[in-house]
């Protein structure tokens, strides 16, 4: 019975897909080759199982077949298995065409060093002209490793305008809405935290103002571009002198704020693991995230995730850094038989909103329908309560291409893409945008420095130790661990890189 049911479902899927292809075809061409004869591209990316994946795949294939003469096979791999599986696929030479990559998952730099990805410079210029032109040459610089671009950048928020988030209901209860919205520095957050803490002391559910003060200490908060371990470059310094971040005045200020706030009892003494903090935030135990990325439309995302309406304000000045630009990439495999078609596929994903939204939002009428077509606002199709109930909701727009082409799912997000693009455009580029540090010559020192930061830096980030003593101790240990060796090597590489760029 089960199989019969499945067969019928497959037939349904195919029929629906065909019907949809017809609706989606804008410029049907007369001579369309049979889809089976066309090359089939394989796209591998992290994501959970989606009930209607086959349906979306069929629709995308039909759309692509007409435009670039290829079809697609979508191959999502569970988040938790992605690194292992893609690593084996690469190492074993199993053929595929495109894979999601980033410095934080399916490591981009490893893929480049191991030559698992092919250089894309010429291919992008020839087969993806619109995509290539959609970003400035400086932006593309960030994806360059050893002179070539190996990863296609997904356009999204590149800058990290950090700032505090606060639950709107609590903010209103303490009556400091105007004060919060006028914040320009973290120091001024203190009276608001104090008021929230006072409120929390009388409230049953809310236990403390905030739960994790460590993000205050993030280098991007204070105008530095972090390169590796504790080493940073001041983004206003055109000569790009490498500094030890924990020696800067900014680090001391941040650590002092953390220490003061910790002693005032605004945050718990034991810093919980991430998923517990997550649960705690959902449960409503805390009201403030002291420092997180404040982006246009971000409040709606936070509200959807943790179930609380929030207000946020950006404090850190947005800076364009390498890490920010290449946070999400797609690479083309060395095993690809049709790299030019793979790049043409990326062109479609990044410049054709209809195609891109098929992959990221599903199909019109099946998974979503227009709530307001002019505003590009959609809602779950056929009266479904949420997009999660529609059978296709990967919810990872930023993985597939230019998010500025994504349809909005929440009315408060409308206009967020324009605002984000504006932020990216106006951000000051870091003097080392596009530089990547090769740590292979100083691996031992890097490992010791990381260990020291864990042991002596983390307590400062949680406010557990006295600032003066803590920083002095940290500096001593960092020197012993050989941070100067790393700094010298990094400065040498940066100087060479700057010299090469100047030529």
């Amino acid at each position: 019975m089960h199989t019969i049911f499945q067969k019928r479902k497959v037939v349904q899927v195919v029929l629906l897909a065909i019907a949809l292809c017809l609706t989606f075809s804008w410029s049907p061409k007369a001579s369309v080759m049979a889809q089976e004869d066309l090359p089939r591209l394989v796209y591998i990316y992290p994501g959970g199982a989606q009930e209607d994946l086959a349906l979306v795949q069929e629709a995308m294939s039909a759309y692509m077949a007409e435009r670039i003469g290829a079809t697609i096979e979508l191959r999502p791999i569970e988040w938790g298995a992605y690194n292992d599986q893609i690593g084996l696929i690469n190492a074993s030479g199993e053929p595929y065409d495109i894979a999601f990559t980033a410095p934080w998952i399916n490591n981009y730099y490893t893929n480049v060093t191991e030559e698992y990805f092919i250089p894309l410079d010429d291919l992008l210029a020839e087969y993806a002209p619109n995509y290539w032109a959609s970003m400035t040459p400086e932006t593309w610089e960030a994806a360059r490793v050893g002179g070539s671009i190996y990863g296609a950048i997904n356009q999204q928020i590149f800058v990290k305008p950090f700032g505090p988030y606060i639950r709107t209901d609590i903010l209103e209860a303490v009556g400091l809405v105007e004060e919060f919205e006028a914040l320009t520095s973290y120091e001024d957050l203190a009276p608001i935290l104090a008021a929230v803490q006072e409120y929390a002391d009388q409230d049953d559910v809310l236990t403390q103002a905030t739960y994790n003060l460590a993000p205050l200490n993030v280098a991007e908060n204070w105008g530095y571009d972090p390169i590796a371990v504790d080493l940073v470059v001041d983004t206003t310094d055109a000569t790009a002198q490498v500094q030890i971040y924990s020696q800067t005045e900014a680090y001391r200020t941040a650590s002092q704020l953390i220490r003061d706030w910790y002693l005032a009892g605004y945050a718990p003494s034991d810093v919980a693991v991430w998923d517990e903090m997550d649960a705690a935030w959902t449960a409503g135990l805390y009201a403030v995230r002291v420092s997180d990325i404040v982006k246009p439309g971000g409040n709606a995302e936070v509200a959807a995730r943790w179930g609380w309406e929030v207000t946020s304000v950006a404090i850190a000045e947005p800076v364009l850094t390498t890490a920010g630009v290449i946070a999400t990439l797609n690479g083309v495999s060395y095993t690809s038989e049709h790299p030019e078609l793979a790049v043409a596929f990326l062109e479609l994903l990044n410049s054709d909103p209809v195609f891109y939204n098929m992959l990221s939002k599903g199909l019109e009428g099946v998974h979503w329908e227009w709530a307001d077509q002019d505003a590009k606002l959609i809602r779950p199709a056929n009266g479904a309560a949420s997009f999660a109930d529609t059978g296709y909701n990967p919810n990872t727009d930023w993985m597939f291409g230019n998010v500025f082409n994504a349809y909005y799912t929440d009315v408060t997000q409308v206009g967020a893409w324009e605002a984000t693009a504006e932020l990216n455009r106006n951000a000051r580029p870091s003097p080392i945008l596009g530089f990547t540090f090769d740590g292979s010559a100083v691996e031992t020192e890097l490992a010791s420095v990381s260990a020291v930061l864990q042991e002596f830096g983390n307590p400062l980030g949680s406010g557990l130790v006295d600032v003066d003593e803590g920083i002095a101790r940290l500096q001593e240990e960092l020197q012993n661990a050989g941070i100067e060796v790393v700094r010298a090597e990094m400065q040498r590489q940066i100087d060479e890189w700057l010299a090469a760029k100047a030529e």
Binding site: E78, G80, Y82, S92, W274, D275, A304
Partner: protein, 305 residues
């Protein structure tokens, strides 16, 4: 025997008794502490799975639920397809896999144990060589995916444990210890090799087979790495892999939030994860209790000549 020596004898017995009581007492204390160390985490998980989500976050873990709730189980049983499906997969691979594996391994071990078998030496070398040297994970992956082409099928989950060399070694030693005269007698009575194996060797080797069967079954039951490498189809997730994926997906989510992306609602609540863990381990624990006596007998297997 004089009165005094009798008394001395009695006193000596008394001291012996006290000493042996003290010895036993301290051993028991040590074992009780050890069992508590093993049991407490399990009890914490069970307790957490029956705790209200908010209460758990606020009060932390405790041996007795701070606020009793079956919400986590309600949530899982509202859509139990994933867990039932993976139970079915796990039970299938455990039963079928163990049966096939024990059959193959005992046949192989028996052949290797018979001195008159011509290819005994080369075959032994072929089998035991792999115990010391193997190609590593990438060749294994290539073999499974490009030659055998079993990725994303149930065979990928079954194949890896069909022959575990160490178990073959145990079985071979056991078979070799059976008296040669038995086989001669059987042969005189007109039994062929198959008859000898099935009617004489196997019944005599029951404890060894049960032990190997248990080990193999546990291997199948607990295996999640095979799925991590070869399984993408969520209909084929065994239980342990389902648990692994739920946990590790939560960790991967943390990575993406670090770059400013927020993916909405895929991470189950803490209590739901605990309830999943209870549902996944509970039956396995019972299974273990049931087979325990074989296991204990199996441990002594190492002590034969």
């Amino acid at each position: 025997m004089s009165h005094t020596s009798n008394l001395r004898e009695l006193r000596r017995q008394d001291t012996d008794r006290v000493m042996s009581f003290l010895g036993r007492f301290s051993v028991h204390i040590a074992l009780i502490i050890f069992s508590l160390c093993c049991l407490t985490p399990l009890l914490l998980i069970i307790s957490a799975s029956f705790t209200d989500e908010i209460a758990l976050t606020r009060n932390g873990y405790s041996l007795i639920p701070s606020q009793f709730s079956t919400e986590a189980y309600d949530l899982i049983f509202k859509n139990p397809r994933a867990i039932l499906q993976s139970y079915a997969i796990t039970i299938f691979i455990t039963v079928v896999g163990t049966t096939i594996a024990v059959t193959i391994m005992s046949l192989l071990a028996y052949a290797l144990s018979r001195k008159e078998f011509v290819l005994r030496k080369p075959l032994s070398f072929f089998v035991f060589f792999t115990m010391l040297f193997n190609g590593g994970i990438v060749p294994y992956y290539i073999l499974m995916t490009q030659y055998l082409r079993v990725q994303d099928t149930i065979f990928a989950l079954l194949l890896p444990y069909f022959v575990v060399v160490f178990y073959v070694l145990i079985l071979r030693t056991y078979f070799a210890a059976l008296p040669e005269e038995l086989f001669d007698a059987a042969r005189v009575d007109g039994a062929g090799e198959w008859r000898i194996f099935f009617s004489i060797v196997l019944p005599l080797a029951k404890p060894a087979l049960a032990t190997i069967g248990l080990f193999t079954a546990l291997n199948y039951w607990n295996d999640w790495t095979t799925s991590l490498y070869f399984i993408r189809d969520s209909n084929l997730y065994p239980l342990q892999y389902l648990l692994y994926i739920i946990q590790s997906n939560a960790q991967a989510m943390q990575l993406q939030s670090a770059v400013g992306n927020i993916t909405v609602g895929e991470v189950p609540t803490q209590t739901a994860r605990m309830a999943m863990a209870v549902l996944a381990t509970g039956p396995a624990a019972l299974f273990f209790l049931f087979f325990q006596r074989y296991l204990i007998r199996g441990v002594t297997l190492g002590s034969f000549k």
